[in-house]
Amino acid sequence: MVSHAIGLFHDPESALHAAGQLKSAGFAQPEIMSPVPIHGVEEVLGPKKSVIKRFTFFGGIFGALGGFALAAGTAVMYLHPTGGRPIITIPPFLIISYEMTILCGILATVLGFLISARLPVFRERIYVPETAVDKFGVTVPCDSDEQFSDAERILEQAGAEEVRRLGDPS
């Protein structure tokens, strides 16, 4: 585990500021850990792209086609004429298609979320439990003690209530 410097802030604005400072000081991309989603991250740390919408979209398309194919294909596989209708009956199969669109869309969205958020992870990672309550943490990896003291300084300047060093100092 790489050594990390973590500054804990009382408010999101200060945390964002600190992250910005760290970034401009040439540190690797800092991470902000917060109890609530905070706004303005992209302005400070650069835009975030999400692939989730593609997952959702293609999942939906797959569901729509797959749903119809499932209904029509199985109807053709084992012929059961019912109700004087054709074997491939469009309106009911569209309903199946519709539901499958949503089902596959949902599942794909979840998949997209997990992949893009890199979850689940069950090994130990840099984490400060306070950030789940009321602290806003800014994390940055530090390769050396010098780097850490630089980070510590920047964080404290930005108003960190506390700065911790986590992980193995390597």
């Binding site: 109700g83 004087g84 209708r85 054709p86």
Partner: protein, 254 residues
């Protein structure tokens, strides 16, 4: 043939609704209401042929009768001009059967004889077919029924005994149809008119019931259904029944 061609031809084929031509036979029954006397022989014949359980007084009182064919009776007018009409009612074997489309597990569908069949061991007992049937001719096994010994010795070995939770209904005595078809097939011919009769038709004392293949234009049933008196019960629902009723003649009706 390329995959695409097969797909297109398959699509075209399966987008067509089945017609009489798609079935081997189109079994049809005609019921002459002018002949029907309401005697109930058909009801008992059906019970004997099809292993229809005895449900008992309590169940009957609860409205759970189990008779694939029943005699409905309708009064017109008041005393002294009251008139009574009987109408035997059984599964109409509709070509556009509402019950068939609703079954989620395909337990009921149209077989190659154009019959509306009920596959007992496929039924999961949603009972939706009974709701969808406008003729109220589908019967549900609310219990496992037992025949006290030795009444069970009468059970017809050609017909399944249904277990609880299964829907059942008139089959046009499919076991007899199958037998006649097998017999005809052995001889390399089609089933002749009158060769097969369901138990109700077979026993009807006033010969009000006629059964046959309407694809054969010379069959008795074809003649019956071309009678000017022919009509379908609840024909306005467009279920296209295979049971045709012949109007009762009443000189007082204009």
């Amino acid at each position: 043939m390329s995959f695409m061609d097969r797909f297109v031809s398959g699509w075209r084929k399966h987008r067509q609704a089945a017609t009489d031509d798609d079935f081997d036979y189109a079994w049809t029954m005609s019921i002459d209401l002018d002949r029907c006397t309401g005697c109930g022989a058909c009801v008992t014949a059906c019970q004997a042929e099809n292993n229809i359980p005895l449900v008992g007084e309590k169940e009957l009182a609860g409205g759970r009768e189990m008779q694939w064919i029943r005699i409905e009776r309708y009064w017109e007018g008041e005393y002294p001009n009251a008139k009574l009409s009987f109408i035997p009612m059984m599964c109409q074997h509709c070509d556009s059967a509402p019950c068939e489309t609703v079954c989620p597990v395909s337990a009921t569908y149209h077989n190659q004889d154009g019959l509306n069949t009920q596959i007992y061991n496929r039924c999961i007992g949603t009972r939706s077919c009974a709701v969808y049937c406008p003729y109220e001719v589908r019967f549900f096994n609310y219990y496992d029924h037992h025949w006290p010994a030795p009444l069970d010795q009468q059970l017809n070995p050609d017909v399944t005994v249904r277990e609880k939770g299964v829907m059942e209904k008139c089959t046009f005595c499919i076991q007899r149809i199958r037998q006649a078809k097998d017999h005809a097939k052995d001889e390399g011919r089609r089933v002749a008119d009158g060769e097969v009769q369901p138990a109700c038709v077979q026993t009807c004392p006033s010969e009000a019931l006629v059964f046959g293949d309407r694809k054969d234009p010379n069959s008795n049933v074809s003649k019956s259904i071309n009678d000017p008196r022919a009509y379908h019960v609840l024909g306005e629902l467009n279920t296209r029944p295979s049971v045709v009723y012949l109007k009762k003649v009443d000189a007082d009706v204009v």
